[in-house]
């Protein structure tokens, strides 16, 4: 078209998975609401002391659910991960300071965070789901958190940097970001009852179109479906 100044679409705002409803709501919560037709509204009671929803130890499971080049020996997956505890007051102070709408927060915007787990892995064999799953058990949690900070609406924050080379697509995908969840989850039989969350998930999948999907929803460990 004659006279067009600019062709192309630019979106400065970065839509980050960490603030999508998928990642903000807790994994089991999302599953339960879908299964039970629960309305999904949660009322936050500020600083509600709830040591019972703090698991002694956490399990951290990172999975590359699937990728087109899974069977190609040249494909590989590299992941840097950090799991933090963010006290409730610090979390909500930080959230208030964030601009409304799409945002791309950084670790530095969450002062007062406490490191629970960190590491880096590079996996060269991606044939099976088992090979594409990283599992860390016995991450000390409850004892790490000072007793007064064991409130229901504190948060667990996962910071990740991921690199996946898909030899089928001949593309290397990169992503870095933050994901949040609460220390509790709803009881599977009774959504009104909170129980300690014991597993933190971090799921990735490379689509045939070359996009990198990301979520921290609880998932069937034997399924390669997103």
């Amino acid at each position: 078209m004659r006279g067009f100044l600019t062709i192309g679409l630019l979106q400065w705002c970065v839509l980050l998975g960490s603030f999508s409803p998928q990642s903000l709501s807790t994994p089991s919560f999302a599953l339960n609401t879908a299964q039970r037709g629960f309305t999904g509204f949660k009322v936050r009671e500020p600083n509600l002391y709830a040591p019972n929803v703090y698991a002694d130890n956490l399990e951290f499971i990172a999975t590359l659910v699937d990728l087109p080049g899974a069977r190609n020996k040249q494909s590989y997956w590299e992941l840097s991960y950090e799991l933090y505890f963010v006290p409730e007051d610090k979390y909500y102070e930080a959230i208030k300071r964030l601009p409304k709408g799409p945002s791309n927060p950084t670790l530095e915007q969450f002062p007062g965070r406490m490191l629970l787990l960190e590491g880096h892995k590079k996996i060269r064999r991606l044939d099976t789901l088992k090979e594409r799953t990283l599992r860390f058990t016995g991450v000390r949690f409850k004892q790490q958190v000072p007793d007064p900070q064991r409130t229901k609406f504190a948060h667990l924050m996962t910071h990740f940097s991921v690199k996946v080379f898909d030899a089928e697509l001949k593309t290397t995908l990169y992503r870095t970001g933050l994901l949040f969840t609460e220390p509790y989850q709803d009881h599977p039989q009774d959504p009104n009852q909170a129980i300690a969350r014991k597993t933190i998930y971090l799921n990735f999948m490379v689509t045939p179109e070359g996009y990198l999907n990301l979520s921290q929803l609880a998932r069937d460990p034997d399924s390669t479906k997103w």
């Binding site: 078209m1 600019t6 192309g8 799409p102 950084t106 530095e108 910071h159 290397t172 990169y174």
Partner: protein
């Protein structure tokens, strides 16, 4: 051995060429021309028949619609069937899977439907009318998806406006009719875009369409303030369209930039019309009720921001309405509840300084990103941070980007970002006519595919400058890269770029390269082969911006390559094209060849087979124009 086989094949093609050009030139009697025309017609019919079996429904629908148009005068029954088949195929077009944008969501299916409807509108208007109604029914039954601020009102209005935009250059009256038709669904974002183009051709016609929009507002009211802002933009700030602000920050702005701009906006040329619009808009904003059960805050913010955007003009033309609007905005403020504290600074975005140049702002942003990257706790995080900072540099400051890549530890990422920066810079220098600098920089790019593309684009520029000797050198460089690389999707398209560029001054070289391109395209998806811009090369993903700097390049599609050959090479080229796989690509190539033949053959004979073809098929440039219609505006976010 392969070389011998290739040479043999070219020799056969040349023999065919000699044979047929002999027939074409020495013995071109009316009967031989008729025979050739019959052959072209048969080829088109068989291609359209085959298209029903193609997996790629986008290519199938487009091919069938274009063939229907080409053969309509000679075989209307077949043509109608092909057109119907094309419409059926559009229903099977899958939309690319991507997250919905809050700004704009272009639809691939609608883009293909537009092409089919344009043919139907000219050839069988009753079909076009039925199909448009079908789209309305489909929208009602399909899942309701939230529109982006700059999406058109409905799928029907989106398609109708795209059709109008395509027609406006040749037939502003038809485009105006379509614009008025689009008003059935309200005033869409792209309404102003085509209206500006109509205004440039026929001011009175544009005024008529604008009055139809005013009539729509009078009778149906407004569904949301964006309808008013679209018309306001047309009258007072063409090429700059604001969206209603629903953010916390009162000063946030959503703005789309781009499109044609008349020297004097219509609102300045015709103050009476401007006043009429402002009066209607004011009345609607004063009377608009807030939703009772819905999101009152969002609705209130939207109304307040629209009042604030219109206020200056209303105050100038209708001060009494301005006073009422001011009171209404104050009243709505309690519902809108805009934030009273200034928004906090974003860690990846520096504060905006009054009067600062874009370059300076971009530099400060890169400073911030570099600083943030240095704080990463692990190597991968730091690498991604530095890569993000490097691609955040402006094209003129590519050297800073290259320096930043020096801090990236990951080799793949470092080289991927480095070649992205160089690719962008070289294309920029070519477009600016600085070919020496482009040539020097291009050699620094280690990505052979990108380097080859730059040689082709540079050769195109050299041909424009009438320097065919140097263009030949650049094409030989590109060719050498292609020949020593492994076949892939991008390589086939680069070879097609070489064909289309050679075709402007060396037909024999073009034919040789077409033969080679056909071999390379065996595993290339047909849709990719019909893309005319240079390949983007997705070596790395998740770092480089979504905007595509290759968007202004042309000549890399199968159609561009086939279209460079003269009609007297018909059989010779057809011989080469018959080897193409996948079948969709062969169909597209044959259609292009036949169209070119029909377009350039003596009208006396060709007219018998294709009356009215000239306006049937949009040029590659026109297709690109329309495929990017929704993307033709630079969408600025809320700040």
């Amino acid at each position: 051995m392969r070389l011998v086989a290739n040479t043999f094949k070219i020799a056969i093609a040349l023999v065919c060429a000699g044979h047929f050009s002999f027939h074409a030139q020495a013995q071109e009697t009316p009967s031989s021309q008729q025979q050739l025309l019959k052959r072209v017609n048969d080829l088109l019919n068989s291609t359209a028949d085959e298209a029903t079996k193609w997996d790629d429904k986008v290519v199938a629908a487009r091919t069938q619609a274009q063939i229907a148009d080409l053969i309509w005068d000679t075989n209307p029954d077949n043509a109608k069937n092909y057109l119907k088949a094309a419409w059926s195929a559009t229903a099977k077009v899958d939309e690319p899977k991507r997250e919905r944008s809050t700004f704009i969501n272009p639809s691939l299916r609608n883009a293909v439907r537009r092409e089919v409807l344009l043919v139907a509108r000219r050839r069988a208007p009753e079909l076009a009318a039925t199909w448009l109604e079908e789209m309305v029914e489909e929208s009602k039954s399909s899942e309701k998806k939230e529109r982006g601020t700059f999406d058109d009102r409905t799928a029907r209005s989106a398609v109708v406006l795209q059709m109008a935009n395509e027609l406006v250059a040749e037939n502003p009256k038809a485009a105006a009719d379509l614009l008025i038709e689009s008003l059935r669904d309200g005033i869409s974002f792209n309404f102003q875009n085509t209206l500006i183009r109509i205004q440039q051709k026929d001011l009175a016609l544009a005024e008529k369409v604008f009055r139809a929009a005013l009539a729509r507002l009078r009778t149906a009211g407004m569904s949301d303030p964006n309808e008013l802002l679209t018309l306001d933009s047309y009258l007072f700030s063409p090429g700059r369209v604001f969206g209603a602000n629903t953010a916390d920050n009162r000063n946030s702005v959503q703005m789309a930039l781009g499109g044609a701009r008349p020297d004097v906006p219509l609102g300045r040329q015709n103050p009476a019309l401007a006043r009429e619009f402002l009066a209607i808009a004011s009345d609607l904003l004063l009377a608009a009720p807030l939703p009772t059960g819905g999101n009152v805050q969002v609705a209130a913010r939207s109304l307040v921001s629209a009042i604030e955007m219109l206020f200056q003009e209303v105050n100038e033309h209708l001060p009494e309405k301005a006073a009422l609007l001011k009171a209404r905005a104050q009243q709505l403020d309690s519902e809108a509840r805009f934030a009273t504290t200034p928004p906090p600074p974003r860690p990846d975005m520096p504060d905006i300084r009054r009067g600062e140049s874009q370059e300076s702002f971009a530099e400060r942003r890169v400073d911030l990103l570099e600083e943030a990257a240095a704080k990463g706790r692990d190597v991968l995080t730091r690498d991604i941070g530095y890569a993000t900072a490097a691609v955040g540099t402006t094209v003129e400051r590519y050297q800073r980007g290259l320096d930043l890549t020096g801090k990236i530890d990951d080799k793949t990422l470092r080289e991927g970002v480095r070649s992205w920066l160089l690719y962008r810079a070289v294309l920029h220098f070519i477009a600016a006519g600085n070919l020496d600098e482009a040539h020097r920089l291009n050699f620094k790019n280690e990505d052979a595919g990108q380097r080859a593309v730059c040689f082709v684009v540079g050769a195109q520029k050299l041909i424009e400058n009438k320097d065919t000797d140097r263009a030949g050198e650049w094409l030989r460089e590109a060719g050498a890269i292609v020949r020593r690389s492994d076949a892939n999707e991008s390589l086939a398209r680069i070879a097609l770029g070489i064909v289309s560029t050679y075709g402007r001054f060396d037909t024999q070289a073009a034919l040789d390269w077409l033969l080679y391109a056909v071999k390379l395209m065996r595993k290339t998806p047909p849709t990719s082969l019909t893309e005319d811009k240079a390949p983007s090369f997705k070596r790395i993903s998740g770092i480089t911006p979504v905007s595509d700097f290759t968007i202004r390049t042309t000549g890399f599609s199968l159609q561009s390559a086939v279209a460079v050959f003269a009609p007297d090479q018909f059989e010779q080229v057809l011989y080469v094209l018959n080897d193409i796989t996948p079948q969709e690509a062969r169909g597209v190539a044959i259609l292009t060849l036949c169209r070119k033949f029909l377009k350039t053959k003596p009208k006396a004979v060709a007219g018998k087979i294709r009356r009215g073809v000239g306006s049937c098929q949009p040029s590659v440039a026109a297709r690109r124009r329309n495929s990017t219609l929704d993307e033709a505006f630079l969408i600025l976010p809320k700040l």
